[in-house]
């Protein structure tokens, strides 16, 4: 008995593969009319209302609001003849005379039982002759592996399902996700990628040659490029983006789908933590002089409208120290170490969407004033959720200002591809030995993680020491170093 019809999400706009359920306009049990709007779906192209394909009663809704659904999978089941009595076991129970006589139309509608995820044979999206799926309009192709249709002379040509891409294109086993290859993983042959993907890679500053494609025949897809350009992240002490108004079920556990920024954060941190051998060092510094210098800076007429924060001084300290120790501004590329003359200074920012790390391009060339403006702009953009992928890619060295959360320091995880990250702790008044006496001074603790493959303890210590020296006495170090 199959008067129950499942409606599959159609391709709403020429070649789409998925859509997000924005809102259900009906609920289970509702009686609906033909063409009554039942659901609002957003695709890459538009947010549209879908009208009901059949009149009847809503039997089941398969996907909640907010879920992303593949084109061609069922989203709702409609009982097209709800007056005909219960669906299950209707042959027993009430005598036939008690039930309304089904109309010819409803009988015809009952004829074909759509299988799971399918529509009736002959219709678009349904099975077409020869076991294929009709895809001219309507539903996208099936996601299951393509099967070769059996030929009539099957003596030699067996019907083996085609599951893997042709082997001649990629020689190495294909990892599940695209990762920047480590030296020997770099492709020697031509890179397979469609022109829009190449353009995306160029826009995001991603080297296609360093990627391993996950697309057909090992080609590089948009996702591969976007993953490679994903924001570098470190999770040390930043809060998660889990809603504080968490709703717990009866088991007092809440299950939050891992997606978006959270997924990227997880991927990047675990990748970095288990590939780059991290070493973390700490240094506690008396920054009273520096804070006084900042106050004097704020009082200057030309700096009146500028946001001057302790983080600005830390950024300056890092940039100056990099100049004295360029090796910390480098990345590990398997057979070689890439040392960068430019510093794309990453600033970790906690946003509503989660942790993102935009960076200031070529920050080493900026004056202090330009640096201050760039940092203000970067943080505002991040808080507004408008940080572009380009802003988040290509970072070379990162600062994470965990002090704003009131903690002393942390052991940050390196953003992938970077070899040093500095945690800047809270600046607080503490007892400190100053000129032979214990005095209340403004003190902070720095934590520097570095990649031991590139940076040895000596170099890391010297670098951290220089950052600390600048923060302890900015005027004198400026005079001494520049």
């Amino acid at each position: 008995m199959s008067r129950i019809k499942e409606f599959n999400l159609p391709d709403l706009g020429e070649g789409l593969t998925e859509g997000e359920i924005l809102a259900w306009l009906v609920k289970v049990g509702d009686t609906i009319e033909l063409n009554q709007p039942i659901v609002e779906v957003e695709t890459a192209k538009a947010a549209v209302e879908i009208p009901a394909k059949w009149a009847g009663q809503v039997q089941a809704i398969f996907h909640p609001e907010g879920s992303t659904v593949e084109v061609g999978s069922p989203i709702i089941a409609i009982d097209t003849d709800p007056d005909a009595g219960p669906v299950q076991g209707s042959t027993t129970g009430a005598p036939a005379s008690d039930r309304p006589v089904p109309s010819a139309a409803s009988l015809a509608a009952v004829e074909v039982a759509p299988a799971e995820g399918a529509v009736e044979p002959g219709l678009i999206g349904g099975p077409a002759p020869g076991g294929r799926t009709a895809v001219l309009v309507g539903y996208g192709p099936r996601t299951t592996a393509a099967k070769r249709r059996p030929r009539k002379d099957t003596a030699q040509v067996t019907s083996v399902p085609v599951q893997s891409p042709p082997a001649q294109v990629v020689s190495a086993p294909v990892p599940p996700t695209a990762t920047p290859a480590n030296g020997n993983g770099r492709h020697s042959g031509p890179v397979l990628a469609k022109p829009p993907v190449r353009k995306l890679a160029r826009d995001l500053g991603v080297d296609l040659g360093a990627l391993t494609g996950t697309g057909p025949s090992g080609s590089i897809t948009r996702d591969d490029v976007q993953r490679a350009a994903a924001p570098a992240v470190e999770p040390s002490t930043v809060t998660t983006s889990v809603s504080s108004a968490a709703s717990f079920g009866t088991d007092r556990e809440q299950r939050i789908p891992v997606k978006g920024v959270r997924r990227l954060t997880a991927e990047n941190t675990s990748r970095s933590a288990f590939t780059a051998p991290h070493v973390t060092e700490f240094l506690t510094v008396d920054v009273t002089r520096a804070m006084k210098a900042l106050n004097r800076l704020r009082e200057r007429r030309e700096w009146r409208d500028v946001r001057v924060s302790p983080l600005l001084l830390v950024a300056k300290a890092v940039l100056l120290a990099v100049r004295r120790h360029p090796m910390v501004n480098s990345s590990w590329a398997g057979d070689e170490i890439v040392v960068k003359e430019y510093v794309n200074l990453g600033i970790a920012a906690a946003t509503e969407r989660g942790l993102i790390v935009p960076n200031i391009k070529d920050a080493g060339r900026l004056t202090l004033r330009e640096l201050a403006d760039a940092m203000t702009g970067l943080v505002q953009t991040a808080k507004a959720g408008r940080t572009s992928p380009a802003d988040m890619s290509g970072g070379t060295l990162t600062i994470t200002n965990v002090g704003v959360f009131g903690v002393d320091t942390g052991t940050p995880i390196l953003p992938p591809g970077e070899s040093a990250i500095l945690a800047f702790g809270a600046v607080r008044e503490q007892p400190w030995v100053h000129k032979g006496k214990v005095k209340p001074r403004l003190v902070t603790t720095l934590g520097l993680s570095f990649d031991h493959r590139i940076v040895d303890g000596e170099l890391g210590s010297k670098f951290l020491r220089d950052v600390g020296d600048f923060l302890a006495d900015p005027e004198a170090t400026l005079l001494a170093w520049t």
């Binding site: 020429e14 192209k45 549209v48 999206g125 020869g130 001219l136 309507g138 059996p150 030929r151």
Partner: protein, 391 residues
């Protein structure tokens, strides 16, 4: 509306009741029925020509019926696309009057060249409204005979049909089919965005220079997908005609009466051998460009609301009610007919069979071709090589 030429004299013709000569607010816009449903007896356009229509009650009701049916069938097609039964659909919502007004002004012998949105004109030409749905379902290439219905195939390429129409119109003139009251005329449909195409401007040049019997009918629906009109032109579009040496006029495209009057006049000029003209039917695309488009991304709701108040069907209904040309029973009957035809359309679309793979070899050449015959045979053998093959 009854078949035949509604412009021809008929008994029982009603002069526009309690009508008066009125200004339309926009001196450049020919209007015979205001958005409030007020009837204007006649309007002298900026071209000095007096535009008027004299319809019988039956004809007024017929135009109303056309508008409602065309809108309903279009809405059904949009729903079918949303339900996965059509690949794409370009809705005409809001442009019914421009299409019905111009479509009904055509005489049987006149030839029309549509875009892909002229479902209303297609309907007026007497073509089964299911025909374009086969095209957008991908089961055929458009199933009507252009010669039988004097309505060319839908053209997806923007503006290309204006050149086809120009060539056709030149042929009509060369055949000596113009120069009389019963001569032939040609109409080319296009949109505001197409006026930026080279094709359309070339068509203007040729039709002007060869004095072709052609009416360029531009439905200015204010958007070329997402690009607003001010990105297409710095002057009103109808004035462009002056530069090509033929008359241009702007009509209220949401006014079915004015559109009819203006189009009929332009067609008559063409059939008499007086050359081409440009009509700018000033209207608004109430829906999306196509079902793949989301207009809320590039236009504001208040603009849509303002045009909602100028709805072509609402003003016609107000007029019919106020003048007691139609009663409640009539409106109910029209709505019921529209509903029935929509259901019928849906059922027939769902029943459309998928084409056989080998049909792609058919209709390529009128008399077939040995090369294609060979390819068809090869392809059939290939299909038959599979198990369970039905071919």
């Amino acid at each position: 509306m009854a078949k035949g030429d509604p412009g021809a004299p008929a008994r029982g013709r009603r002069a526009a009741p309690r009508s008066r000569k009125a200004t339309t607010g926009d001196p450049e816009l020919v209007q015979l029925l205001t958005p409030a449903g007020e009837r204007i007896e006649s309007v002298t356009g900026p071209d000095g020509i007096e535009y008027r229509v004299d319809f019988t009650d039956e004809e007024y009701r017929g135009l109303y019926r056309d508008l409602v049916l065309v809108r309903k069938l279009d809405a059904e097609a949009t729903a079918l696309q949303r339900q996965g039964e059509l690949g794409i659909w370009a809705s005409l919502l809001g442009q019914e009057a421009a299409q019905v007004g111009s479509g009904r002004a055509l005489r049987t012998q006149d030839m029309a060249f549509p875009t892909y949105r002229e479902h209303g004109v297609l309907y007026c030409r007497g073509i089964d409204p299911i025909m374009p749905l086969g095209l957008f379902r991908g089961v055929d290439q458009g199933g009507w005979d252009p010669n039988e219905f004097k309505f060319n195939m839908y053209t997806i390429v923007i503006g290309a049909q204006t050149l086809h129409a120009t060539g056709y119109a030149m042929g009509v003139a060369m055949d000596g089919k113009t120069g009389s009251d019963d001569g032939e005329a040609v109409i080319a449909y296009f949109g505001d965005g197409a006026t930026s195409q080279g094709d359309v401007n070339e068509a203007f040049v040729w039709a002007g220079v060869f004095n072709s019997p052609l009416v360029f009918f531009c439905q200015n629906n204010q958007y070329a997908i997402s690009e607003p009109l001010d990105r297409q032109t710095r002057i009103p579009l109808y004035r462009r005609a002056a530069g090509f040496g033929f008359p241009g006029i702007r009509v209220d495209g949401n006014d079915v009466l004015a559109t009819y009057a203006v189009t009929r006049h332009a067609l008559d000029n063409a059939r008499l051998g007086q050359g081409p003209s440009l009509i700018e039917a000033y209207t608004y695309r109430m829906g999306a460009h196509t079902t793949s488009d989301d207009p809320t991304r590039y236009r504001i709701a208040s603009e849509v609301e303002a045009w909602q108040a100028k709805d072509p069907i609402a003003r016609m209904k107000t007029f019919l009610e106020r003048e007691k040309i139609a009663d409640a029973a009539f409106f109910t009957e029209v709505d019921e007919q529209a509903r029935r035809e929509a259901v019928d359309l849906r059922e027939r679309v769902l029943a459309m069979p998928d084409p056989e793979p080998t049909t792609m070899f058919d209709h390529v050449y009128p008399g077939g071709s040995p090369l294609l015959d060979k390819q068809r045979a090869q392809f059939s053998r290939y299909l038959e090589s599979f198990e369970g093959s039905v071919h």
